[in-house]
Structure formats: structure tokens, C-alpha cells
């Protein structure tokens, strides 16, 4: 009999856990994936996937005017947000079912229950069922962060969870935080006619993105009626007559914003509680599990990946981290960790935002010399043809060797377009390689070719 029940037990079936589980199984390990909720984690059930379903519908709805431009008369009186909501849930349910199928197909056991570490090689499920494994991977993810002065009820004071589950739109929404989550909801709900205001503590929109991109997005959002309160802190709230009065302060000045609903989108916190970490002395830092190379905790056979460790809170990061950890367990040669400069970020509002690597602010902070090239969407005929001429792509590059340092795109299909530049960066291609590569015409990808020509000093359509 084998020494352990499993070669690998994964706690959590989100995009980190299930991908790691499948990869481990492919590498010949006997794998169990434990999930206390629904397969697929936040991403599939109450994150990326349902939100993208909402965004897609918001996109269609906001382009009704385009249909009217063709002479169609569109009667929106029958609009029912509940139907929009139901569609988003169906996408989640469909894909969630797909996860159990994929795990089964790859011969990984799917175990339902709440897991707790009870030994370096042992997990206890639901307090009674003990399972042993050679290696254990913690992939428990994160939950929306809250602030004490804004007690969440998921009805009027909501996190992304409550916002995604809302069946009836409020008249007015106040969003705390202008990060990716806040901006995506701002886009969705304002598209459906909700009056949206955003309070952001720092002085820019999409604070982790490039400043110029943030400014551009702010402008397009303001055009559609979204109001921003930058450099502003939400202090307290008061519920009154079905309304919520939120007190905000900007410097010394305080004022009250009246709204129907508040979305707290100030970030996410790691799910490292109630896992039994303290039983084993697994170290955490501000709630994040501490890991070293290959995402190993201080217990050599226990790994942690995804939102529960201190790395970008992105599904694709969790998946990759899981892969690295599993490859390491299998004794394969692999990178010790992800290269932070090669992680794409994507914001699915309209226009979309996508980026990787250094932006002007972070490059300056890191003391990295750079030059930049910017090319407007309008310069590619396709963008005008499809009615999306607003947008820009910006590339930061090293003045000496022209190594690509970072790229930032705001505009239609930005989240798809970014990957050509990212591939170039990863393969260490130089701007001239993309500048001289033939791009089909007319495509939005021509913007990438043109910005690289701009790096080389010879843009054609600028």
C-alpha cells in the first residue's frame, strides 16, 4: 500500500487549484482536489466569468444607439435586468460543471468539504475525514476586502459578490475604489442606466495602471456620465429612508453623497483563516501565506499559490503558480517563480485596458531608464471602420537595446492585442521584429506594428 492516500492534495478548486490538479495528474501524480463551495472558485462562480457575461450584455445594450443609427427603432421598455443576471449565472454554472468534468477526465478526485491542515502530510475534511498526501497545495484564494466603517450586508452595502448577485438595479450606485473591479461594475451598471459615482483614495483612476491610460479611461467614463471623486476617502455611512448617505473627505473638506447602493471594491483579502496553518507553523504575512521559490511554504512539502499568497490577484497568475509548483514537485526543471514583468493585466470595461511590465510611474520609481512610443487607435483604419477610433497603445523601451519594458493599451480588444507584445517581450524580440513583421490589413493588430515602428522612428500612419 502506498504511504499516502494521494501524491498531491489541492485545497481549493479555483483557477489555481484545478489547473494545478490537472497538471499534476498529467505528470503522473495521484491527485485530490478539495472544494468547500462550487468547483471553479471565485473566478468561475462569482468573479471573472459572470462579470464578463454582464459586461458583454452591457456592451450590447450600450450599443443600441449604433442600431438606431442604422434606422432601426429599438424599444427598450421591456428591459429586465433579472434576465441579464440570469444569463451571467448560466455562464458560471455551465463552466463550473466543466471543471468537475475536466478533473474527472484527468483522473483527479474531486472531494467536497472544508479542509483543514492537521499534519504536514494530512488534511482533515469536514472535521472527521482524514486524508494523507505526500504534497499539499493551498489554493484557497481570496475574498473581497471590507472596511469596518462600511459593514457589508450584500444588499445595499455590497462587495463584488453582492453586486454580481444583484437582480434589481439601483438608481444610483457609489463605488469605493477605481481598480479593475470598481471600473468594470461602473461600466456595466452605467451602461444599463445606473447613475454611478466613484470614490478613489488616490489621485488617479485605475491606480495600478499607467497614469496616461488612467486619465484616458477617466475621460471616456466621464463622457458616459460617471462621476469621479479622486483623492477622496470614504469615511462613514448612514442609512436613511432607503437611501445611503456616505460621508467622504477630500483633504479638509467633508461632504455627503447620497446613493442607493454602495459597492466596496477596495481590493481582496487572502483566505488564510481556518486552514490550520498555525497548527503547522506555516508563516503568514498580513494574512498572505509566505512562500519561497517554487511557491513552497516553510514546510517543504506544503505549497501555496494564487490569491492566498502575496502576488498579483489574478486568475492567470494563480494558474501559472500552480503549474510551477507542480512541475517542481515532479522534479521538472522550471522557473523558481513567475516573472512579475511578464504578467498581463486586463480590465474589461469599455474601452478595455491591458498592460504588462513597467509603466512610466513604476519605471521611474524603480530608477529604470526608458523611452516611450505612443500610437493612437485612429491610425489603424480598422478602428475607424468598426467605430472604435478612441484608444492608444504605449510601449516603454530601454534606450540602449530597445528592449521592451512594458506595454499599455486602452481601446477596443486591448485585452487580446496585448499578447502580441507580451510574446515579443517573453521571447526577447525587439521592436524592429514586430515593426517589420507583416500584419494583415485591416486589423487592430496594425496598431502594434505601428507603435513598434514608432519606437524605431518610422511610423507610417501617424
Amino acid at each position: 500500500m502506498a504511504k499516502y492516500d494521494y501524491d498531491l492534495l489541492v485545497i481549493g478548486s479555483g483557477p489555481g487549484g484545478y489547473v494545478a490538479g490537472i497538471r499534476a495528474s498529467q505528470l503522473g501524480m495521484k491527485v485530490g482536489v478539495i472544494e468547500k463551495d462550487k468547483p471553479g472558485g471565485v473566478c468561475l462562480n462569482i468573479g471573472c466569468i459572470p462579470s464578463k457575461a454582464l459586461i458583454h450584455q452591457a456592451h450590447m445594450f450600450s450599443h443600441i444607439k449604433d442600431l438606431e443609427d442604422m434606422g432601426l427603432k429599438v424599444d427598450t421598455s421591456g428591459f429586465d435586468y433579472t434576465k441579464v443576471f440570469e444569463k451571467s449565472r448560466k455562464a458560471a454554472t455551465d463552466l463550473s460543471g466543466g471543471i468537475t468534468f475536466l478533473l474527472k477526465k484527468n483522473k483527479a478526485d474531486y472531494i467536497v468539504g472544508e479542509a483543514k491542515l492537521t499534519g504536514p502530510h494530512q488534511v482533515t475534511v469536514d472535521g472527521n475525514k482524514k486524508i494523507t498526501a505526500k504534497n499539499i497545495m493551498i489554493a484557497t484564494g481570496s475574498s473581497p476586502r471590507s472596511i469596518p466603517s462600511f459593514p457589508i450586508d450584500e444588499e445595499t452595502i455590497v462587495t463584488s459578490n453582492g453586486a454580481l448577485m444583484t437582480k434589481k438595479l439601483p438608481k444610483k450606485l457609489l463605488i469605493l475604489g477605481s481598480g479593475a473591479i470598481g471600473m468594470e461594475f461602473a461600466y456595466v451598471w452605467s451602461s444599463f442606466g445606473v447613475e454611478v459615482e466613484i470614490v478613489e483614495i488616490v489621485d488617479r483612476v485605475l491606480p495600478i495602471e499607467d497614469d496616461e491610460i488612467g486619465k484616458f479611461i477617466k475621460k471616456t467614463f466621464e463622457k458616459r456620465g460617471v462621476k469621479f471623486h479622486l483623492g477622496t476617502m470614504a469615511k462613514s455611512l448612514e442609512k436613511k429612508d432607503g437611501k445611503v448617505n456616505v460621508t467622504v473627505s477630500q483633504g479638509e473638506q467633508e461632504r455627503v453623497i447620497e446613493t442607493d447602493m454602495v459597492l466596496v471594491a477596495i481590493g481582496r483579502a487572502p483566505n488564510s483563516q481556518n486552514l490550520g496553518l498555525e497548527n503547522l507553523g506555516i508563516k503568514t504575512e498580513k494574512g498572505f501565506i509566505r512562500v519561497g521559490d517554487y511557491y513552497r511554504t516553510n514546510i517543504p512539502n506544503i505549497y501555496a499559490i494564487g490569491d492566498v499568497i502575496h502576488s498579483p490577484l489574478l486568475a492567470h497568475v494563480a494558474s501559472k503558480e500552480g503549474e510551477i509548483a507542480v512541475e517542481h514537485m515532479a522534479g521538472h526543471k522550471t522557473d523558481k517563480k513567475m516573472d512579475a514583468l511578464l504578467i498581463p493585466s486586463a480590465v474589461y470595461c469599455e474601452p478595455q485596458v491591458a498592460s504588462f511590465g513597467y509603466n512610466e510611474r513604476t519605471a521611474k520609481e524603480a530608477g529604470i531608464k526608458f523611452e516611450k512610443a505612443v500610437f493612437p487607435y485612429r491610425g489603424a483604419g480598422k478602428s475607424v471602420a468598426i467605430g472604435c477610433p478612441e484608444g492608444m497603445v504605449k510601449v516603454l523601451f530601454d534606450p540602449k537595446h530597445k528592449e521592451i519594458l512594458g506595454a499599455h493599451i486602452a481601446g477596443a480588444q486591448a485585452t487580446e492585442l496585448i499578447h502580441e507584445i507580451l510574446l515579443a517581450k517573453k521571447a526577447e524580440l525587439l521592436p524592429e521584429d514586430l515593426a517589420t513583421m507583416v500584419h494583415a490589413h485591416p486589423t487592430l493588430s496594425e496598431i502594434i506594428m505601428e507603435v513598434m515602428r514608432t519606437v524605431e522612428g518610422w511610423p507610417i500612419h501617424a
Binding site: G292, R296, T297, H401, K402, E428, L430, E432
Partner: protein
């Protein structure tokens, strides 16, 4: 958690290093890649880069001290962390293998900057180009780092940016990889004999060398005239061999052999001509050159050389030359010295016939086709003046062929 920083082997052969200088002081924030100190190894002074991050809590080894590889030299950890226990322990056991926490497994403890010898072969693309990213290529070109001296760590051994950065940091590689490869070749029997005989000759016969230049103007003209009317063209070597044979006939002391107790002066002039073969060299011998005309010599030579190139020479066709001629003029060689081919006592090395400005008797500079020759003589048989007279006569006859009739 405090990290114990140990002396690492910064070169493959390093057993101990002297800490020349600490680049950081206690209390400094250390980032991975920061230079902690400079270490003098058995090869060079190198920078010791930290692989850990944190605050430098303690320096255990002072500047100037020599430390064996593996000994604790410093401690990095979190600010204000108590490391007195580690310091105490270090004092008790100066050299000790440590167990690392899991996250810093021992396999990663290899020094980041160890000078290593590059491993001969590079991954190449199907077109035979060394696999390297465009950025790596550009960086290598600008830094003057030859790509074939860099080990690639990218996908499938592709050379990427970090490899070039490492190569630049490491400085010139201790050994630049070559596109050639070392081979061990079995020595043929023939090669063994050649080696043995040449060594015997060079070590056994005291060689001395006589050099002079011969104006080939008249011979070239004569050969041209003869060949213009001949059915078969006569080679220049046939002319040279004939003149050498005539000179030997006149100087029999040179057409001789050292036999230990006796010197044999041969009764005929059998001239060997060195011919290169793929697996060695051979000297087919034209017999009785003293009695043969140029045309006959040329005919013999053609047959023999053809046989030599096809490995079909019989032993009697390549042994017992009384004198040997070796001509490397066709390779553009101006002059060279040859090893005597026993049993002969001398060999004539012929260089390229080349247009050369010479000063005439009445101080005019004229251009003449000059050929440098070098006579190697076995001093046991041929004294200097004898060899010199022979060579002078050869020169005079070749420059003024009518003298042969004198």
C-alpha cells in the same frame, strides 16, 4: 528568519577565499543580487552577490581574513532579529554544513556567479545559427561577447538576456568554446614508419642548412620554348631534378650516405621527390637521373606520382633515394627547411618562384623570377664548404644552363 550567509565557491577550484572588502555594513538593507563583499579566490577577485534579502545583521568574518568555502561569513535577516545564538554557534563550529529552510533548498545554494567552463556544443537552429533571442544577440554584439562562449538557459538552451548579462558580469570566459572538436585518430602503420624515420633522421643526423636564391629566368624561358614544340609538357620539377642530378654527378660527396663506420658515395643518382598523400607523404624515386634526359625524368615522375597518389607504389619505387627534392612552391611557400630522407645525406627544399627586385652587377634594380632553395645537409657526410660548392654550382647551372655543357 535569519539566513546564514556562507562563503561559496566562486570558482570551480576555490577552496577558500579572502574577504578583500565588505561592500555592505551591518544594518544595510540587502536585496537579492546586491554585492555583499569582494572575495579574492585562487583565480581572481570576485564580487559575492547576495541571494537573500533582508537586513545585514552581522558580519562574522573581517576584511582580510581567509575563509574556507562553507564557513559562515554574515547573517541576513529581519531588522532587529536576535541572531546572537547563531553567532555563538558559529564561533563554536566554524565550518559546518547547514540545513536550509525548505524555501531555500540547498540546490539553489550554488553561487550565482561561479565561473564555469562553457560546455562545447551550443543549441543551434536548423539553419545552423546559434539559438539566441534577438535581444540577447544585440546585447552580445554591443558588449563584444561571442555567442559561442555563452551557455543558453532559455527554452531548449536558447541564449537569452540573462545569459548575456551573466557572461558580461563574469568577464571573458576562462575558455572560449570552439567550433572545432578534439579527435583521437588511430595512427596507421605507414604513419608510424614516417614518424619513426623522420625522428631518427632529425635527431640522428646533425642537420645544417644552406640557402640561396636562383634566378629562374632562363630555365622558365627554355621550358617555354621546349614545351611550345613538345607533345607532352615537361614539368618544372623535371627540369629541377635534372639540374640537381647534374650537380650531384659533379659533387658525389653530396650523393652519399652515413653508414656508421663508412660513408657510401653512390654510383648513381636516384632522386626522391616528396609527394603528399592524404594519409602521409611518400618519396617515389626516379632512378639514374644522371643518365636520363629531362623528358625521361618527366615521364618517370608522371608514372610514379600517379602511382603514389593512388597508393600503388611498390617498395622498390619509394626506397633508397640517394638525394631528395621537396617542392612546396605550389603552396606559395617562399622557403623552408626539410628533414633529410635517409639513406641520402641531403635534401633540397624548393620554394616558390617569385618576381623579385634584384640588384644587378652594375647596380641596376631589375625584376627577376627568383626561387629560394634550402639545402639540408647531414654534417657527418657533407661539410659546409662541400654543400656550399654544390649549391653554388647548381645555381650557376640553373641560371645559365649552357654551363651544363662545360
Amino acid at each position: 528568519m535569519a539566513e546564514k550567509i556562507e562563503m561559496v565557491a566562486l570558482s570551480p577550484t576555490m577552496e577558500a577565499g579572502v574577504i578583500v572588502k565588505w561592500s555592505k555594513k551591518v544594518g544595510d538593507e540587502i536585496k537579492s543580487g546586491d554585492v555583499l563583499c569582494e572575495v579574492e579566490t585562487d583565480k581572481a577577485t570576485m564580487e559575492y552577490e547576495s541571494m537573500d534579502e533582508g537586513t545585514l545583521l552581522s558580519i562574522i568574518v573581517d576584511e582580510g581574513a581567509e575563509v574556507p568555502v562553507g564557513q559562515l561569513i554574515a547573517i541576513i535577516g529581519e531588522k532587529d532579529e536576535d541572531v546572537s545564538a547563531i553567532i555563538e554557534e558559529a564561533k563554536k563550529a566554524p565550518v559546518k554544513a547547514e540545513e536550509k529552510p525548505a524555501a531555500k533548498a540547498s540546490e539553489e545554494k550554488a553561487p550565482a556567479k561561479a565561473v564555469k567552463q562553457t560546455s562545447g556544443s551550443r543549441p543551434t537552429s536548423r539553419s545552423g545559427k546559434i539559438k539566441a533571442s534577438p535581444l540577447a544577440r544585440k546585447m552580445a554584439e554591443e558588449a563584444g561577447v561571442p555567442l559561442n562562449s555563452v551557455d543558453g538557459t532559455g527554452p531548449n538552451g536558447r541564449i537569452i538576456k540573462r545569459d548575456i548579462e551573466k557572461a558580461i558580469a563574469d568577464g571573458p570566459a576562462t575558455q572560449v568554446a570552439s567550433s572545432m572538436r578534439e579527435q583521437v585518430i588511430q595512427v596507421s602503420k605507414k604513419r608510424k614508419i614516417i614518424a619513426q624515420r623522420l625522428a631518427e633522421s632529425k635527431y640522428g643526423a646533425p642537420h645544417y642548412y644552406l640557402k640561396l636564391s636562383i634566378n629562374m629566368e632562363n630555365i622558365i624561358a627554355a621550358r617555354k620554348q621546349i614545351n611550345a614544340k613538345a607533345k607532352e609538357k615537361l614539368s618544372m620539377n623535371a627540369f629541377i631534378v635534372k639540374f640537381v642530378a647534374e650537380a650531384l654527378r659533379r659533387h658525389p660527396q653530396v650523393n652519399a650516405s652515413w653508414q656508421g663506420d663508412t660513408i657510401v658515395q653512390f654510383g648513381q643518382v636516384d632522386i626522391g621527390l616528396a609527394v603528399a598523400q592524404p594519409d602521409g607523404l611518400i618519396t617515389p624515386v626516379v632512378r639514374n637521373c644522371e643518365s636520363k634526359g629531362i623528358a625521361a625524368i618527366d615521364q618517370d615522375m608522371k608514372v610514379l606520382i600517379d602511382k603514389a597518389l593512388n597508393n600503388r607504389l611498390q617498395p622498390q619505387e619509394y626506397t633508397n633515394a640517394t638525394f631528395t627534392v621537396s617542392n612546396l612552391g605550389s603552396f606559395g611557400i617562399e622557403e623552408f627547411t626539410a628533414i633529410i630522407n635517409p639513406p641520402g645525406a641531403a635534401i633540397l627544399a624548393i620554394g616558390k618562384s617569385e618576381k623579385t627586385p634584384i640588384v644587378t652587377a652594375n647596380d641596376q634594380i631589375v625584376i627577376k623570377p627568383m626561387m629560394k632553395v634550402c639545402l639540408s645537409c647531414d654534417h657527418r657526410v657533407i661539410d659546409g664548404a662541400v654543400g656550399a660548392t654544390f649549391l653554388k654550382d647548381l645555381k650557376d647551372m640553373m641560371e645559365d644552363p649552357i654551363r651544363v655543357l662545360l
